[in-house]
Symmetry: C2
């Protein structure tokens, strides 16, 4: 099986100022076309470290994907290290990339500086895949068998995620053209509302009976729930498809409607599909989630088909003045109450004319809680012409994670309401 | 200087289903107390791979921080690998962690299952730091000099970010108690609105004259702009502080108000500080950014002091019906126009009674553009009693990144308006 390592270069990652999201996208893409990622590695902007680490990865893997360290600025030194690693005696200018550099900068109304032009210069030992999204070209170094004990290819991609991901399809095309690829078989099921350990208990008997070469992984996420991934590596592709399908069917029988999707999915995509199919619309009234639910809805391309809009009523004056929550409700029950979220949900549905609505009011923290209404408390309301229901939940996390949990729980409650009512 | 490696264990990372955010937080914390992170590594849930890779890291580093692979489920095998690596001949139950497990599960109303209890069982070769945020204890393995050529400590943390970060202060305390730490000196300056290559050009002369041991890094981010980080490693602490201070002053002279903060900061925090100091309030009217600006405002603890709320007017009916945008404006100029965002900004300021407001309307893509109004076009409006201004910007990214750029550009425009008007 073709094996790959993904290496990220940049001091900014080692000192924790940025999170490496490229490696995750790249490994997902490699896996999907049958390349097994064995390691991911992040190292600093240090010439000798780059050379020794990349040589080490090339010895152990067929493919090494490098991101980062190609910027126009003085702290980026990957290119010189790759020139040395590949034994280049000089540089050449890649004319296609130079043209792209001119196009990009002139489209942005910027002058083409010497440091921009220098980005089209590459070690003579590499092939170039043009980078259409940015100025640094993708460099491909092919090492013969005698160098690292097997033939190995190194791809150097820019570190800017938008550019790295933009180049990925071209890199995959090159990998497919140069390596004989076997297959990996995965199935993903998305669940929400049941903790990892409780899911594991439900699945214990089935999991113990799984064949040796099959493997179930649990991937908890505050926004999307616990993702279950069933995998087989290697072997005969057709047979594996049928075997993994059979085990997936058993899994679905055990978990029932805890599963909300059979692909790598989100609650907002799932809700969007249901609403589109039924020709229904939705709106939101947010207090403690502060726009997060709205941003989740609108992250889905085409969401304007069913999502009308929202009111973030952070101040009580907006709850009463815009959403029409009776001041008496807030005076008697407080803004964090079932009565208030019911009025918010009804209010935004009336205001926007949507078929469904969802509302939140809670205490995300760090301050502001009381014994009766602790930090982590959220009231969620969902409304449609069939009725308005409210739910009280408590989480025990920090502000960011509480907001995420509030928002995703609200979407799951909305999902279940839609599922029930559209089935009727 | 004390050196550390951070290792993440889990197939879910290698196949790209989750992004490793722990390593970034951990390295930031280690750097801040003078530990230099030399490498980050991600490996799969494979017994032999875990042992050989961790032994390799322990040989090269004083400290190895491991996250992941400690869940209650069957795919997590880190603990057994650590037992073998440390030569443990058996396990013992950590009573403090067992108590926490009971507390956590009963607070959540869950039964304590055998797989939960098993999490309190640890190799007899380790010390335990209790994990108060979750069920898996933090294990500390101290290896004597003869084992890896120098004394080395391995910390095993849970993979769930909330738990890993919750345990971090205790781990740092243990590191400080057991290692003599030197210092790293950093200064961070946040800039917005000028591209990396143009910044580099502005700073070229100054950067060329920097002393050998000082280093400037450029860290572009769509939401927060280009972060500049000036560093010195090692040496005498007091002297370094003065030297880095002097260079930072020069940098500030060159860049002027392109710099919006001198700490690791965000536009929304910066705006919040200005509004709080002036006793002013703000609201937002969002179309294409769909709640993202509101979520950015409310991500700041205490934002209720100055942030009143927002309307996400995704449908035109919400623009006219809730925000009071004249239907004639939309008919004549379209929803994506300067006239429309001006009316949206004025409308939400009137509706909420805020001092300032910001509004967006644009085309995030992937579909929906035209020659005159391409995908990536955004109109931004800002309003106060001093007046309403509109701006037209065009970006050339995918949906997610366009939304981020729209939102952060809107915040930067708002920041400059507040800065100008509050100075008056």
């Amino acid at each position: 099986m073709t094996q790959a390592s993904i290496c990220t270069i940049g001091d900014e990652i080692l000192i924790g100022q940025i999170v490496d999201t490229n490696s995750s996208h790249i490994s997902k893409a490699l896996n999907s076309c049958g390349v097994r990622v064995t390691r991911m590695l992040s190292i600093g902007d240090d010439h000798d470290e780059i050379i020794s680490n990349l040589a080490g990865e090339l010895r152990k893997n067929d493919i090494v994907i490098v991101t980062g360290g190609l910027g126009p600025t003085k702290d980026d030194i990957t290119k010189a290290a790759l020139a040395e690693l590949s034994g280049a005696s000089g540089y050449r200018t890649d004319e296609r990339q130079l043209e792209i550099i001119h196009d990009i900068l002139s489209a942005r109304g910027l002058d083409v500086l010497d440091i921009n032009i220098a980005q089209a210069s590459v070690p003579e030992t590499c092939e170039v895949i043009p980078n259409r999204k940015g100025t640094a070209p993708i460099m491909v170094f092919r090492f013969p068998e005698e160098r690292f004990g097997h033939s190995a290819t190194l791809y150097s991609l820019p570190g800017v995620p938008f550019e790295a991901l933009g180049a990925l399809q071209d890199v995959l095309g090159d990998i497919k053209a140069h390596h004989g690829l076997s297959d990996i078989c995965h199935r993903t099921l998305m669940t929400f509302g049941v903790a990892e350990s409780a899911l594991s208990k439900m699945l214990e008997e089935w999991e113990d009976a799984l064949p040796e070469d099959m493997h179930l992984a649990y991937l908890p996420n505050a926004l999307t729930g616990v993702r279950l991934r069933l995998s087989i590596y290697g072997g005969n592709h057709e047979d594996e498809e049928a075997r993994i399908e059979a085990e997936t069917a058993k899994l679905k029988d055990i978990l029932g409607d805890i599963i909300y999707s059979e692909e790598d999915d989100t609650l907002e995509h799932c809700i969007g599909r249901m609403l589109s199919a039924a020709g229904k619309t939705v709106s939101a009234a947010e207090s403690c989630t502060g726009g997060t639910i709205s941003a989740m809805f609108t992250s889905v391309p085409g969401s304007s088909e069913y999502y009308l809009g929202s009111v973030t009523s952070y101040a009580n004056s907006v709850k009463t003045g815009v959403l029409g929550v009776p001041a008496e409700i807030i005076a008697r029950h407080g803004a964090v109450s079932g009565e208030c979220v019911a009025a918010m949900a009804d209010g935004v549905r009336r205001l926007t004319g949507s078929d469904y609505s969802v509302a939140t009011s809670g205490i995300a923290g760090p301050g502001g809680g009381s014994e009766e209404k602790p930090v982590g408390l959220v009231w969620i309301g969902v409304s449609s012409e069939m009725g308005t229901e409210t739910y009280r939940l408590v989480f025990k996390n920090d502000r960011k994670r509480n907001i995420e949990r509030f928002a995703s729980s609200a979407l799951d409650i909305l999902r279940k309401k839609i599922l029930k009512e559209i089935k009727l």
